[in-house]
Amino acid sequence: MHLPTPGGFVAAALATATIVAGSATAVGASAPASPSVSATLGGPRGSIVVAAEEEPATADWIHRDAGIAWGVWVLGGQTLPQAFVVQPDGSYAPGAVLAGEPVLEPGPPQRVTYRIRDEAVWSDGEPITSKDFSYLWRQVTKGRAISDRTGYTDIESVDTSDPKVAVVTFSEPYAAWRDLFGGFYFLLPSHLLQGKDRHAAMKDGYAFSGGPWKLQGGARGWKQGRSLTLVPNDRYWGTKPSIGRVTFQFVPETGPAIQAVKTGQVDAAYPTPAIGILDEIEEESNLQFATSLGNTYEALWLNTTKRPLDSRAVRQALAYATDRDAIVEQVLTPAVRRGSVLQSFNVPTYQQYFTPSFERYTRDLGRVDELMTGDGWTRNDDGVWEKGGRRARVELNTTSDVGGREIVERLLQSQWEDAGFQVSIDNADPGTLFGDWLPNGTFSVGIFSSVGSPDPDLCILFCTSAIPTDDNGGAGLNITYLSSAAIDGPLTAQLREPDAGARAPLVRDGQAALADEVPAIPLYQAPTVFVWNADRIGGPLADNTTSGPFYNLNEWTLR
């Protein structure tokens, strides 16, 4: 079973916050670790090896080649500061670099004041300043081949008159302002990069650090295709790592990764769960694991330009024809012994904006008949719905190299055929599905995952403005091609509502509209499994669905 975010689709676009420094700050605040304490303990020692499923494409985090969560988990978040970090409960907390919560003035003009911690310094001893905020803003807005400029283009100015205070003024209200100077992006040392080719300086790794770790030997610490090695950053002001060296070894496949942990080749792994994986781990007395339901969720994406999916009744009927409980039972439970049906496109991790709007869709063939008949369909001799001489025919499309989705396909085929739909299957490699079939609208029902984000913006997935067209270069993410005023209304409004309290109802309205229109059907949250060798690693080990299990790597200890 394999439930990744394919090809960076959607995942890259949504700023999945991956915040590492957050917990470190909390710990550091309560019990600031002084250099002398570590010194008396003899300093960091020993080394561990961790299997990493994906390798960052580039360490230039704002470049368009960046954008995978693993890059942030194993390198970005370990080495660079961010304004906000998302907590395990989905709330935003100020990063280790800030001295307290930033101050928001809703305006207009909207204005945010970030106060930088006095002791926050780069690894060369230079202080982290408001110029670093300004530098990031300018690079994102003015640079070439930038991953995502959203929000930054709404900034009018960054006041750097006080080196320890950055004042950001917006030209338009921007609701997702907490994702700025965070998310997949990091503050960069302007004093080192100013006037230089940022991309060239950073893409293969960098020697500087503003986090608990730094690359061993600078760019040499990252052996492309093989491994990435971190050592403690002596100048870090928060909790200092007690482990002398952490090597992330790139092992893309689940089987080999588990095998490697079981045999002691690596000390921890965070692989995509597979059926039977927990039994296998439990066989080994020295292994411990933690599972959770992650922010990545699996959904059925309906191409609403294709018959019969252009009919809302048919889409609703399909939702009623689907036994999502059975799917969860066959796909999630055997793998991680837990799981529940996802009822929204905002994962419940971020409770403030979550509403179980799809709850009404449980398998109900009576409702299917009702909806289909009401839409003018009749069952033909084969028991298949027909209208105007044409059958209700859908095709399931997913990436063919992904094991577990074939179970979903087989279950759906059975369930939908049983409900009177004709179902065929045509799979493709990720390049074809995401690069061709989706943007060109030639698919029928896509099965793939998306990533839920702490910021509740669903407009990017479902607004009319996000439909791929020639105007936007075919780059829009609304591959359901559904243009609905009922959806556009609340989802567009929430975009410009910086106040969280006022924003939540709008988001929930949008979700209700989505459940009515059914451009997509959410299935479940992809599970995660974090496994480690307890004979080797100690400390507060746990999965963090947003920030990854390495969010507190600096607190890990070696046994």
């Binding site: 090809g7 960076g8 689709f9 959607v10 890259a12 676009a13 949504l14 090896v49 299997a51 494409a57 580039t58 230039d60 470049h63 368009r64 080649d65 081949a145 930038i146 991953s147 995502d148 400029r149 959203t150 991309h199 893409k203 052996k223 492309q224 295709g225 093989r226 491994s227 090695t229 090597t247 070894q249 790139f250 092992v251 893309p252 496949e253 089987g255 080999p256 990764a257 095998q259 490697a260 045999t263 002691g264 080749q265 690596v266 020295n286 190299d401 490699d429 990720p430 390049g431 995401f434 690069g435 061709d436 943007p439 990017i460 791929p468 270069g473 075919g474 780059a475 829009g476 993410l477």
Partner: protein, 320 residues
């Protein structure tokens, strides 16, 4: 011989040029859209921008000429997936693959030589039957399946059996410092998987050649003049059978450069094969194009080596 080598290289050049057309047509015609991944981007201009950057808006013939022109002078461009230079991507992958290929070939050659000689000089014996059956098994076993089985049984069960905490062999590449022992523990399993097929193929080949050679008049004539069996087998039998085998081996080794896709995938080795799979999945056209050309060039080089070896080993072959 130098003239011959020179001529072969000259003849190969147009072949490679035509191959480049084929490769370009294949990758650009049938393969993925090089800019596809930027369609995911939240930035509405990213896709158009990327297409322009990649020069995809120009006529295809111009693109081909541009690519070939740069390719010939060693400017292989940058990966659209990682932004790194294609030469470094391919270079590091090639290094990984060549190590695997080298050891697999060396081990296989040694084993195949022993088995082929034994079987070829004792055709019909019980030992020959057993080895023949094993060779057939080696040729029939699906590599990817075998790799998974090997990882489980030799990588895990064996360790359990011996009750050790330390891994016996590595099934994933882990930087554990240097040393020949560590090197061996890393390469043992993948080399085994690759070698099964090579040994099977080569030993069958050598066995057939050996059996034929041992039945020739000249071996019988050597026997008739009192040449002892050992010398008969080594100096006449093996020496004559090797000519064909060595050239076959050279060609097979050339094919290994691009042919270890499954082994590399199963053992998480970032070699030519996995680079190809990633590039194909990511629509990384610059890498795909260069990759195919490098694989083709490897075959050309190995064919050339095969021909030269043949000429060196067999005085009857005239390189004209």
């Amino acid at each position: 011989m130098l003239t011959y080598a020179g001529r072969r290289v000259l003849v190969s050049l147009p072949v490679l040029v035509v191959a480049s057309v084929l490769v370009f047509a294949l990758v650009r015609g049938v393969g993925p859209d090089p800019a596809a991944k930027y369609r995911d981007s939240r930035d509405p201009h990213a896709y158009q921008e990327a297409r322009a950057d990649l020069g995809l808006d120009r006529p295809i013939v111009v693109q081909y000429g541009d690519w070939l022109g740069h390719f010939v002078v060693g400017q292989w461009g940058e990966s659209t997936d990682t932004g790194r230079s294609v030469s470094s991507e391919i270079g590091s992958a090639l290094w990984e693959t060549l190590q695997l290929a080298f050891w697999a070939a060396a081990v296989s050659a040694a084993v195949a030589l022993l088995i082929g000689t034994y079987s070829g000089t004792r055709t019909g014996s019980a030992g020959d039957h057993v080895l023949t059956a094993l060779a057939f098994a080696g040729l029939a076993v699906p590599t990817f399946w075998f790799g998974l089985v090997v990882i489980h049984f030799l990588g895990y069960e064996l360790q359990q059996l011996l009750g050790t905490d330390q891994p016996l062999f590595y099934s994933v590449p882990v930087d554990t410092g240097g040393g020949p022992v560590e090197y061996f523990r890393h390469l043992a399993l993948p080399v085994l998987v690759v070698s099964v097929q090579l040994v099977a193929g080569w030993s069958r080949y050598l066995r057939a050649a050996m059996a034929d050679t041992m039945r020739t008049d000249f071996v019988r004539a050597a026997r008739a003049r009192g040449v002892p069996r050992r010398r008969l087998v080594v100096r006449h039998g093996l020496r004559n059978s090797l000519t064909a085998l060595v050239t076959t081996m050279a060609v097979d080794i050339g094919a290994l450069v691009a042919g270890l896709i499954v082994t590399e995938k199963v053992f998480s080795i970032r070699g030519m094969g996995t680079v190809f799979l990633d590039a194909l999945g990511a629509g990384d056209t610059p890498v795909l194009l260069t990759w195919l050309m490098v694989a083709g060039a490897a075959v050309v080089v190995c064919n050339l080596v095969a021909d030269l070896l043949y000429a060196v080993l067999d005085p009857r072959v005239r390189l004209a």
